[in-house]
Symmetry: C2
Subunit: 84 residues, 2 copies
Amino acid sequence: MNIYEVLGMFAAIITTASFLPQVYKTWKSKDTKALSLTMYIAFFIGVSLWTVYGFYLNSLPMIVANTITAISTLILIRLKLKYK
Amino acid sequence: MNIYEVLGMFAAIITTASFLPQVYKTWKSKDTKALSLTMYIAFFIGVSLWTVYGFYLNSLPMIVANTITAISTLILIRLKLKYK
């Protein structure tokens, strides 16, 4: 692993970690009013495409970060549909 | 440009576009109460690292998407500091 791959790993950890508090907050509060369903569905499609693109680039940080973010977004979408 | 690079470009457009409404909303409302400064600073560092990593991977979608997101995040941080 070279220095750029280490930077990519840090990027993956930081941006993924900054998304998780939103998931946790929504999970706990069940308050999904402020969340836009359309935006989250679009975002889910976007991070899924990043994951596919990550496989193409053979980039572990991209695959790991976007898979976790895609799953988190699916959880938010499910909460939104359940508590709307 | 092959099919994977097209997917990457779509990923870039979708995830960047889904971040911009937040910037616009905050810009208009000047309401930054719900935004966590720490989280946005961390996120700014994260997307900056993704940009550097994008240069390393020679990936135009990653460079463009993360540069725009980094600038947007800087705007949010500046609004947060100005209207806190």
